[in-house]
């Protein structure tokens, strides 16, 4: 039985002078503990799809269920990470990390201790009382990860969370996130336009075509790469093979678009 299931979801945005279909007839299932990447050019509705899964947007058609529950009843199962950290600059790191627990009304001694312990484990000991502006970009994104994990979600939605970081920090964080998610046995969906990142981190890659967004192709990541950390996976020869395959496929999608 699948953990997350998306059935025939379509979404159209309406404005005064246009109706734009962002995604069309997308169906997909994700198993418990699986890491799935959605890869595609800009304009393929990746973020729209993620927002629908998070219950932030109600799709014009179709349904999303987590463990057979409609998404609006399963809010607490979801953790969402954005392109930038979006830590609140007027709150300390500790207040930022605890904000999810505060909103969901789950704050108590135990959950607070867990969240601070997680902060510690992720390498942010001693910055609890600092403000976000005093931290580097990588540290801030790590704090944002702790904020997302603090409410103990079952599934993580990652919306290009590494795109705003420099390359070195990005590689380090990929390892850290992948490792943390495996440790806590979280299911995850990563949205990205970085082919390498998708291969290095995920179990399965879905290629989306643009205008409107549809699932064009599915790739299984070889077991050798799945087992490795993202950094080591990048050195593997199977990584380059898959990279070439996906590259060609993306190229074809683009030329098809132009015709």
């Amino acid at each position: 039985m699948s953990f997350l299931s998306i059935e025939k979801v379509s979404h159209t945005y309406f404005t005064k002078d246009s109706a734009t279909t962002a995604i069309e007839n997308i169906s997909l299932t994700v198993q418990d503990g699986e890491f799935v990447s959605l890869l595609g050019p800009s304009g393929c509705g990746k973020t729209t799809l993620l927002s629908i899964i998070a219950g932030l947007i109600t799709p014009t058609e179709g349904s999303v269920t987590i463990e057979n529950k409609q998404i609006d009843r399963a809010r607490s199962y979801i953790g969402y990470m954005l392109q930038q950290d979006y830590l609140f600059p007027w709150k300390t790191i500790e207040e930022n990390v605890l904000v999810g627990l505060k909103i969901t009304n789950h704050i108590n001694e135990q959950t607070k201790k867990n969240a601070l312990h997680l902060l510690d484990k992720i390498g942010l000991k001693g910055v609890e009382k600092s403000y976000p502006s005093q931290l580097s970009g990588g540290m801030r994104q790590r704090a944002a990860l702790v904020r997302t994990l603090a409410t103990n979600p079952k599934i993580l939605l990652l919306d290009e969370p590494f795109s705003a970081l420099d390359y070195q920090t990005k590689l380090k964080l990929e390892d850290l996130v992948s490792h943390t998610l495996k440790d806590y046995k979280k299911t995850a969906i990563l949205v990205t336009h970085d082919i390498g990142e998708a291969i290095a981190m995920s179990d399965r890659i879905l290629l989306l075509s643009a205008n409107p967004g549809r699932i064009a192709k599915e790739f299984q990541v070889p077991d050798e790469l799945k087992r490795d950390t993202p950094f080591n996976a990048r050195q593997h020869h199977k990584y380059s093979d898959l990279f070439q395959k996906i590259w060609k496929e993306l190229d074809q999608l683009e030329t098809k678009q132009e015709h």
């Binding site: 809010r75 969402y80 609140f88 007027w90 904000v99 969901t104």
Partner: protein, 269 residues
């Protein structure tokens, strides 16, 4: 070791330079003050300007001592300060609450939009006579003047800042399932504190305008009354004394707001 020493030396030099620059600025500020008041005094004594109209610093000082002595200064000052501070607080508070209501319901905001534009464009001081008739010639109408003059502009500015809060901050909270009230309390309001503070600074000045005009119209007490009274009996020393006192206390209020700013906005390193 040697380059370190050099850096320390250079840093010292840099700090000295900063101090020197600050001193120069202070000296010039003091000079302007001195030249203005001594020029005023001399011009008045030599009758270059009409001392009956422009008075002189020494006469104003003498009057200040007298007025402090017989206690009339403090009663008048107290009344005006009370009215201004209250008008200022009410105006800012009501304006912010109105802004929150507009943020809460975009329909309400659409409905009220043309009325806000009209009310903002209208000179609020012109409402004075109506306020006096409606609320009676006393504290109430003067405080209402002090408040009404800043409400609409506060509403418009603060509402704009509420709307311009980065949507992604709200998205973070919504993914946790936050409701509208939580979004307002945790994100929209704190994100708008800098704007609210800067409207406070503007409102300090506006409330003084409202209260002084209100006192021109009705009151038998207050600094605005002293100005009008001085004008009627042609005692311009009294008019200028009141003006100077207003300037001093308006500045003090402004600095109080700055102090509040430093307390509220902690993120600045």
């Amino acid at each position: 070791m040697k380059p370190n020493k050099n850096i320390n030396l250079l840093h010292d030099l840099y700090l000295k330079e900063l101090r020197k620059e600050k001193q120069i600025v202070r000296i010039y500020q003091f000079l302007i003050f001195l030249v203005f008041f001594s020029g005023w005094e001399i011009a008045s004594q030599k009758h270059w300007i009409d001392p009956l109209i422009f008075s002189s610093p020494s006469k104003i000082w003498g009057l200040l001592i007298d007025k402090i002595g017989d206690g009339t200064l403090f009663t008048n000052l107290y009344v005006t300060l009370f009215e201004t501070v209250l008008g200022f607080i009410i105006g800012t508070l009501l304006g912010t609450i109105l802004a929150a209501m507009l943020w809460w319901s975009s329909r309400l905001s659409n409905i009220l939009d043309p009325y806000l534009v009209v009310l903002n464009a209208m000179p609020k001081v012109a409402l004075g006579p109506i306020l006096i008739v409606a609320l009676g010639p006393g504290y109430f109408s003067i405080i209402a003047m002090g408040a009404i003059i800043s409400i609409i502009i506060t509403t418009i500015v603060v509402y704009t800042s509420f709307k311009e809060v980065d949507q992604n901050y709200l998205k973070v909270l919504q993914t946790f399932g936050a409701n509208r009230k939580q979004c307002f309390k945790e994100v929209v309001l704190p994100a708008s504190f800098p704007t609210i503070i800067s409207t406070l600074k503007v409102n300090v000045g506006l409330s003084w305008v409202g209260v002084i005009v209100g006192e021109f119209l009705v009151s038998a007490k207050g600094l605005g009354y002293l100005i009008i009274y001085g004008f009627q009996v042609f005692n311009f020393t009294l008019v200028l004394l009141s003006l100077l006192i207003i300037a001093v206390f308006a500045t003090i209020m402004y600095h109080a707001v700055e102090l509040l700013e430093r307390k509220l906005i902690k993120t600045v390193k």
